[in-house]
Amino acid sequence: MRDLTDFDEAGLAAPPLLETRGLTFAAGGRRLIDGVNLTLRPGRRVAIMGPNGAGKSLLLRLMHGLLTPADGGVLWQGRRLDAAARAAQAMVFQRPVLLRRSVLGNLSFALRARGVPRHLRPARAEEALARARLTGLARSPARRLSGGEQQRLALAMALAGRPWVLFLDEPTASLDPASTHAVEEMLAEAHAQGVTTVTVTHDAGQARRVGDDLVFLQAGRVAEAGPVASLLDAPRSGPLRAWTEGRLWLPDR
């Protein structure tokens, strides 16, 4: 199957960081992810869109190794995705998962899990707090923060391990515009430092802001992929056209 997401026809770009080859995931006898080929090159920002149930979150979890594919696989720098490769990835979930501890306690936990030596942790935690603009709230219970602050903390925890690739599953779905902006700013900073990002979003505006490339999923398959602006401005595939027009895509018609 042709890889719709590999835009490097001239072969000039950096070698892929992560590739999926015929990635398939099934549950209850249904193929929820169906033969997805996708190439992620270092420093790119990819947005993944698609209607509910298209498999966006599943695809993210498969790439991050949280789920095991039924068929096909994920390659990290051309090799199988293993624990060491996983350590170079991080993920932010739609609903931030925070421990029942202080803000600082959460960051220390993430740094420790990522194998950062004890003597380096305070400085790294301080740095992460500043990045998330949570320095004044270091001692506050994490789960008493506002939704926006919680998601910034979750993002800071993910970035604290200095990942190469960051996966984000609708990170601002339940946030107000100001909080959304703050999260996107953190993302932009991370990208400026060379972090490759893959963001699932339902918001076309966000896709343009946090994506260079767009992958549009429909029923577990890549319906269309390419540069974000040209895809959203001039969709060619039926599913994406239906989506931009606010219609449900009904393949039988």
Binding site: R61, G65, A90, A110, A113, R114, P141
Partner: protein, 235 residues
């Protein structure tokens, strides 16, 4: 019933005057029960957390067994420990029968499954929330168990409390392995049983009242801790 009222006033006087025998009995009761609950938590918390946090062959069976053991009849446990510790039993050489140590052992056997089974439930629920984040961060197995226990700390306090309630009120097992020997293994529950059968209602009543107050105080303390925690640090 003049006899009962009289016994009641006698009981109050005993408590108010701080009767030495009474306090000895209360002290031993608390020492045995708290040691047993403490040791049960040392075993039951990690055991329950491991069963709650990981999938492994035999996990369902183990959960089932732990749940079933929560309902162990104390007299059966007492009998089992008695047979183990009696002179002809496998642990007879330790000469522990009719000592507080034997009572602690029996209560541990009663309380550990309660702590483990309830911990499993609490940790399993919490793990459902944390599992993906832990996997994403690459948290190692033992760190996961420790983090789950720590983050469930206030729920687990209630678990320990359930164990304490079971142990402090229990009479069958400590009577069999302790023997209710005056000044050696006499605790509140065994004394109440003995004095009631002897007709010494005032001492039995006094101890019954103390037992109730202890249960009330321990519960109040745990509630206060939970309440403060929820206000300041734990959400």
């Amino acid at each position: 019933m003049p006899g009962l009222m009289e016994a009641f006033w006698d009981a109050l006087r005993l408590i108010a005057l701080g009767d030495a025998d009474l306090w000895e009995i209360i002290g031993l009761s608390l020492r045995v029960t708290m040691t047993a609950v403490g040791l049960s938590c040392l075993i039951g918390l990690p055991l329950g957390a491991v069963v709650g946090a990981f999938r492994f062959p035999g996990r369902t069976a183990l959960s089932l067994i732990l749940n079933a053991l929560m309902g162990l009849p104390p007299v059966v446990v007492g009998l089992g420990v008695y047979l183990m510790l009696s002179a002809s039993g496998p642990l007879g050489v330790l000469q522990l029968l009719y000592t507080p140590t034997a009572m602690i052992l029996a209560q541990m056997i009663l309380v550990t499954p309660i702590v483990a089974a309830l911990t499993r439930q609490v940790v399993e629920d919490l793990n459902e929330e944390y599992a993906e984040q832990f996997a994403s961060l690459g948290v190692r197995r033992m760190e996961r168990v420790a983090a789950l226990i720590w983050d469930a700390r206030y729920s687990l306090l209630t678990v320990a409390l359930a164990g304490f309630g079971r142990a402090v009120a229990e009479v069958g097992a400590v009577l069999i392995v302790g023997g209710n020997i005056d000044h050696v293994t006499r605790v509140m529950t065994t004394t109440i049983a003995l004095e009631t059968s002897r007709g010494n209602l005032h001492l039995a009543l006094a101890l019954g009242a103390v037992l109730l107050v202890i249960a009330l105080l321990v519960n109040a303390a745990v509630m206060a801790v939970r309440h403060t925690a929820q206000k300041v640090a734990y959400a």
